[in-house]
Symmetry: C2
Amino acid sequence: MHQVYFTPGPSALYYTVEGHIKNALKSYVPSISHRSKQFEEIYAHTIDQLRQLLNVPDDFEIYFTGSATEIWERLIQNCVEQSSYHLVNGSFSKRFYQMSGELGRNTALLEVAPGLGFKPSEINIPEAAELIAVTQNETSTGVAQPLEDIYALKEKHPDKILAVDAVSALPYIDIDFNRIDAIYFSVQKGFGLPAGLGVWVMNGRCVEKAKSMQQSGHSIGSYHSIPSFASKAVKNQTPETPNVLGIYLLGKVAEDMLTKGIVQIRRETEYKAALLYNLLENHSLLAPFVAETAHRSKTVIVATTSVASEKIIKQASQRGMVIGSGYGAFKSEHVRIANFPTHSKEQFEMLVDFLADYSEE
Amino acid sequence: MHQVYFTPGPSALYYTVEGHIKNALKSYVPSISHRSKQFEEIYAHTIDQLRQLLNVPDDFEIYFTGSATEIWERLIQNCVEQSSYHLVNGSFSKRFYQMSGELGRNTALLEVAPGLGFKPSEINIPEAAELIAVTQNETSTGVAQPLEDIYALKEKHPDKILAVDAVSALPYIDIDFNRIDAIYFSVQKGFGLPAGLGVWVMNGRCVEKAKSMQQSGHSIGSYHSIPSFASKAVKNQTPETPNVLGIYLLGKVAEDMLTKGIVQIRRETEYKAALLYNLLENHSLLAPFVAETAHRSKTVIVATTSVASEKIIKQASQRGMVIGSGYGAFKSEHVRIANFPTHSKEQFEMLVDFLADYSEE
């Protein structure tokens, strides 16, 4: 049966991906050497399309990892000598915080209850923190932190590295790169690609920090240290044999999104989000989990359910729509719905109609 | 134009992969959650098929990384407190040796010239070494170390962890797992899959070593430490969102290889290797790079060329055959030819016929 995946990641493939995979197979993309001219052209194309789509300045580097989870580890290894600071409001920001501790760093955090965002006035960042970790969009709870709040952290702490987790937010959010230091995402969410690739965008301050740590004798890892990435990126290559097909597909999808227009994609995302939140606010069995309007994610929409979420998920699936359960402890009390560029207005209207009609029999 | 990739990795896709990708798209494999029952079934199937194909005992674990390069790093982080020992006879074994140093370990090595293997009598492993790194099949030079020599190292040093790089050798080599501690490969070589997945097989000694290092306060990494892998593997899951499509395809290809029969695959590999080495020994412009017969790889066959290798590569390509250049400094002096399970006898005969007829115009 035809199914539309509204799960928050992995999610539905971007609607052009299947065609691109077929073309990739026809032109032997999975067989070419990662040290060949052909690969270098694919790499350069993907970087170029990403730069255009996300408006990434020339003085930012873009590197590929196996996952966004890997980027958490590499960020700590390369940019934190001793101390990191984390704004924690869900399972993924919490995991990043824990990881820094596992890697032997001193950690500090401000934790708020699930479903809440942060009030800038309550954030006190210790002097010692070298890196501020902010999750712009928490995939586990559907909380988004307004970009202006994030920029304000950087203004207040220009000496610290501000790293933004935008795993399930890009390409929707329109980032001002001059007001952050690093941002990262994985491709199986907003870009609608098969999982297995993380994308890390960073400025020269991150590069300098890694180099200075290396020079003063700290271990910053090996093949995926920032200097190792840099030494290969100048040749449009990667340190290891990478997910070549993933890099190829990312470039093609970024190109398709540019053709459609990022402004149009953002407008549609807002239309679809408004449609769903409007329904949730007026539903007898469902309600937005995030109370504060300004903190509601446009791309991962979480609803509390006054019936077991499994029932709703099952009925949706019978109509050809796959929606996500709650994360962790919220499994039965929430549904999570992705609103990514691949989800059309028509698909969203269908989903909203289904939810509007949903009632316990 | 139809091209057969004989490059040593990435190489030609296994001949069933295209069909499996189509089925994966039809059944939404790239969209399913990595925490779902469906994923757990895919994961369990792949592990099961690999165990059968490679005859992996139950007391060995199998974990997935982004690449074999990543496994080098994880091996050092998890299994080497202070010192590692490396048998170096090419670019890849050298890189692993360097990586251990970059990660702050003491390293020792025995290095031989490219094209040579190791004489067991010349190997003296320092008492302090906790891990012995052997590259069974050097993809850069086409040198293979006989398995009996590798087992002898373990017999002589039962207290050390013996880690075997079989990146471009599996599934051809028939490993006796009771005589090694860890082995690893990447899927874009012998398994004929798109790159972006490494496979790490290890016994309880590796697991215990990682745990004891962790307990004594060493950093063993974070999400891809052995205990982190283990905590998810019991549920047929992975720590991060993995390359789900890659894991699915690996299981399908391993199943296809089991259906064909691993004995048959090994027999064909030997037949094709004999065909090519026989030609090289009697060619006016080409010769086997590895002089010692016992050290000649069956899966990556390297020839010295008395004309610039680019000329041969170009002519081959015009006939629909892509062969690899020499690695690094040998770029123009060598050709490298993969002999993987996907390469049929007919394709190999065609290649041998082309090389037999090749002469400078």
